[in-house]
């Protein structure tokens, strides 16, 4: 997003934003809206009553200690809980003006619009680097070679992997290092051109340098895709995210949304004392 576009935008958010990132209006329609979202397994609530908006082209982080339901909440956004028979998602999750659990959008189509990157790099082990990147397109029925090539190059460039792999696209994905594999998985998700990218602790199995590269990547990717990231690394949330949701395990062991707001506010001036305790490292 260029500066001029931003300057032309009269509804620009005037609040100071972290990382010196260009401000994208919080007044533009949100990419996703969560209304009283609860997820339960076998009748036991894992996360309860989450309500917040995910702004377009920003990074929204979900933070909180273990067991606060961050990942559970994230996985409800692309209906990955559908695989677990005992899982039940309640409340409303809106992608634009579509209720994703409303039945009008098949889960497969939803998931082609909402990509996901997992905790551990999981490239498809029998596929080459190229086949990994275009696998999502092929799964969705795209066969045109020119389109696949174009998408693969674009996704690999965006994932900052093109320079190191362009000469060996036929090599197996598993020949890459852990950090490169994770960027391959990011490229694989980006190739489908999703509107939203879910990232579930994407750097938790990586070394600091790989982590830094992926964090830089997230900031760069904002103009291409809206990012929602689960992290238990608070510094990471502070560095990369524009908005932040803080979750905490309640008395009945179900996760609850304690506070949601711009990351600067959550980290500098939280409204809830529990947020402050967590940010200051008093627990969790």
């Amino acid at each position: 997003m260029s500066m001029t576009q931003d300057e032309l935008n009269p509804t620009r958010d005037t609040e100071p934003i972290t990382n010196g990132q260009s401000a994208v209006s919080t007044l533009t329609p949100p990419a996703m809206r969560l209304e009283n979202v609860s997820v339960s397994f076998n009748g036991r609530t894992a996360v309860r009553d989450c309500t917040f908006n995910v702004a377009s082209n920003r990074v929204t982080s979900l933070i909180g200690p273990s067991g606060s339901g961050k990942t559970t909440l994230l996985r409800s956004l692309n209906r990955l809980h559908d695989l677990t028979r005992s899982a039940k998602v309640e409340g409303k999750i809106m992608l634009g003006d579509i209720d994703i659990y409303g039945g009008s959008l098949p889960p497969t189509l939803l998931r082609s619009r909402i990509g996901m990157v997992f905790q551990r790099p999981n490239p498809f082990p029998t596929m080459s680097i190229y086949d990994n990147v275009v696998s999502g397109l092929r799964f969705n029925g795209i066969k045109k070679k020119a389109l696949l090539d174009e998408a693969a190059e674009s996704a690999l460039i965006s994932a900052a992997l093109w320079d190191s792999v362009s000469s060996r696209l036929k090599a197996h994905g598993s020949t890459l290092s852990g950090g490169e594999q994770q960027r391959l998985c990011i490229a694989r998700a980006l190739a489908v051109e999703p509107e939203i990218l879910l990232m579930d602790e994407p750097t938790s199995s990586l070394d600091p340098i790989s982590t830094q590269r992926i964090e830089e990547l997230m900031v760069e990717l904002k103009n291409r895709v809206t990012i929602i990231i689960v992290t238990h690394n608070m510094q990471q949330a502070a560095r990369v995210s524009d908005d932040c949701a803080f979750l905490l395990m309640g008395e009945d062991r179900a996760g609850e949304l304690i506070e949601f707001g711009p990351t600067t506010k959550i980290f500098n001036d939280p409204s809830d004392p529990r947020t402050l305790d967590y940010i200051q490292g008093r627990f969790g």
């Binding site: 497969t108 998931r111 999981n122 498809f124 082990p125 029998t126 696998s135 092929r138 799964f139 197996h172």
Partner: protein
């Protein structure tokens, strides 16, 4: 200074560490001895288990290798007579019979069993549990019962012995074996790969075909080849239904012959030449089974290496 130190109570951690290290070094000789004894026992059992295999192979080679020639493998048998006692011809009919019966059975059983294995690995339902139980029971079924089954439903219905009836029996023998191997191999594929596929917007069936089955392929191939090895050597299920044929015949709706069946018949023969022939067939069969089982290990190991 030292007096002060002496007066201090002994540090419980240091004390415990001293006891642990002393005990460990006292026991080390005993532990090393145990280790050697056990290694010896295991080595001995390895040798013991190799004895029957080696002696069977040695006997087969000694008695059978003289019979084997290209003609033996391709020609049809000649029934020896009192005048011409050494005329045995070859086993071309049995080679073709085994190839047709086991080949067609595999063509039917492999895709069917892999689909069932996929279903069992990926669904948790009563139906799946029921089918898994059936599969396990079928694996343990005495193979002659499959022959009886094929006899009742195919031979009696069609009023003819045939290779087809044997194919049915062998298919039923192979399906549960491959199903079990397929289920295990597919369950071994990390769940996160399926999630990665689904998260890209793929349908379940596409993820199964495009991601899960290729990753499970080494296990699937092992299962298929091992079940083939078993099928090639099975005599009981085909004994009752295949009839007998002394001529090479590719048509499975005719009576046929098969390698294990020929061993069974020739070894009971009064002619020394036919007994000799039985040794030859046995050697061919053992080599086929060895090639299949060693081949399956080789292929699987190679594919696993490529996935790394």
């Amino acid at each position: 200074m030292t007096d002060v130190l002496m007066d201090l109570p002994p540090d419980p951690i240091l004390e415990r560490r001293r006891v642990i290290q002393e005990t460990a070094s006292k026991k080390i000789g005993r532990r090393q001895l145990n280790s050697r004894i056990l290694s010896g026992v295991f080595g001995l059992t390895l040798v013991l288990s190799l004895i029957p295999l080696v002696s069977v192979l040695a006997t087969l080679i000694k008695r059978g290798v003289g019979v084997i020639s290209w003609g033996f493998l391709t020609h049809d048998p000649i029934q020896p007579t009192l005048i011409n006692q050494n005329a045995v011809g070859g086993i071309g009919n049995a080679m073709v019979g085994s190839l047709v019966v086991d080949g067609i059975a595999a063509l039917v059983a492999v895709p069917l069993a892999i689909l069932i294995g996929l279903y069992l690995a990926e669904t948790e339902s009563r139906t799946a549990n029921f089918m898994r139980a059936i599969t396990e029971i079928m694996t343990g079924l005495p193979s002659i019962l499959l022959g009886v089954f094929a006899y009742i439903y195919i031979v009696l219905t069609m009023k003819a012995y045939s290779g087809f009836a044997a194919i049915v029996a062998i298919t039923f023998l192979m399906v549960p074996v491959i199903t079990k191997a397929a289920e295990t191999a597919i369950r071994g594929v990390p769940h996160t790969l399926r999630e990665a596929g689904l998260a890209l917007g793929a349908r379940n069936s596409k993820v199964s075909r495009g991601v899960i089955l290729p990753v499970a392929a080494p296990g699937l191939i092992t299962g298929v080849l091992l079940s083939l090895a078993r099928a090639v050597g099975e005599t009981a299920p085909i004994l009752l239904v295949i009839g007998i044929s002394g001529r090479t015949d590719w048509n499975p709706f005719h009576q046929m012959s098969a390698l294990p069946l020929d061993i069974y018949q020739d070894s009971a023969s009064g002619y020394a030449s036919q007994q000799q022939e039985a040794w030859g067939i046995a050697l061919v069969l053992v080599v086929a089974v060895l090639v299949l089982s060693l081949g399956s290990r080789f292929v699987a190991a190679r594919m696993r290496r490529e996935q790394r």
